[in-house]
Subunit: 219 residues, 2 copies
């Protein structure tokens, strides 16, 4: 028999914090692929309504999740070395964070970027592209393209085990052979990310110049 002490009213010390809610939510999403407020509250040993004292409902918890992954990104990556290697480092860390928490990606796909850390990172990237002689307008286009690619690649990490399933009555010999030759799903996703990131950055480098090959430096 466990003795349950029922408490009513404000506790001497707050039992919840934004941070505690955030890490519990992250754990829950990592484990199940989604979260509900009642389940989250249960894991934290509180009532569902208690969460509202710290975050703005379900949308607020998604915000906390976004903050957590944003903070894990390597902003220092952008400071030193040639710009192309700096961007490569940053976007690799960007994707690496999502590789650790793939199931949160679908929850974060559409929202305005407000995180100070992420804003600063993009500012730094625009600046570094400018130093490399790329005009601001073009820099924004390149950054958005890279961003789209990385987000798509992050979503790929949350993909089901079988990404393409050829039905029995459909003939797709080339695709079937290519799929059969594939390594694990994760390896495929990793390789495709490197393939695209390297090609995109190398293409820009070829046009505007930089110190070394991105692919080379990855080894």
């Amino acid at each position: 028999m466990t003795e349950v002490t029922r408490r009513v009213g404000r506790p001497a010390k707050a039992v919840l914090t934004r941070a505690r809610i955030g890490s519990a939510a992250l754990e829950l999403v990592d484990a199940t692929g989604d979260f509900t407020l009642p389940e989250l509250a249960r894991r934290l040993g509180v009532q569902t309504a208690s969460l509202y004292h710290h975050v703005d409902g379900r949308a607020g918890i998604i915000e906390v999740l976004r903050e957590q992954v944003s903070d894990a990104m390597d902003a220092i990556a952008l400071e030193d070395g040639p710009w192309d290697l700096a961007l490569a480092r940053y976007f690799r860390s960007y994707r690496q964070v999502f590789a650790t928490h793939p199931r949160v990606v679908p929850l974060l796909t559409t929202a305005t970027v407000r995180s100070e850390k992420v804003i600063r990172a993009y500012d730094r990237m625009v600046a570094r592209l400018g130093e490399a002689g790329i005009p601001a307008e073009r820099a924004m286009r390149i950054l958005t393209a890279l961003d789209n690619f990385v987000i798509g690649s992050a979503l790929d990490l949350a993909a089901p085990d079988v990404m393409w399933e050829v039905p029995d009555d459909v003939e797709a010999p080339a695709l079937s052979a290519a799929l059969a030759a594939q390594p694990t799903n994760r390896k495929r996703a990793d390789e495709a990310f490197e393939e695209g990131l390297t090609r995109l950055l190398a293409s820009v480098t070829a046009e505007y110049g930089a110190s070394a090959s991105v692919g080379e430096a990855a080894r």
Copy 2:
């Protein structure tokens, strides 16, 4: 006063079809960004439970949405001409479909591809990359990279009006200047898509050879 005729039991002719449900769902998502079964049923003039006779609940309706957008893609694009131009045509039509229905994109981000039409398209792309001298393993990697980029670019279409919002207390001069120089959100998204697609395909072309520049042919 409208006369309402209450009908019970099976009607002489089925009032619902998969197709009717699908187009009503697409309209609803286009208009509101999401859908619920009760609201969909209301628009179709039936009870919520009636939907279950034609589709497998909410997940089934998302499946129908996926079929609808998949069917709108230009599969013939892959048949003729140099492989790089063929792929460019296909991926442009791919993204064009989502540009017409941007708000459905977030609903379709993670699921196994089973659509015969899409499977055939990917088979065709692997085959054409093979003809160009690209080994199957590498072809799959390139295709996945392109796919990730296009999905990310499609999500970009569903992005809020302000993609990056620099808080008042944060200094991001380079980013702010670049954002100020931006045209409309849609134009930014369009340009970034072309930027990335062109660079990715040109990079592969440079390595394996093809007939003409992708960027050139786009004009």
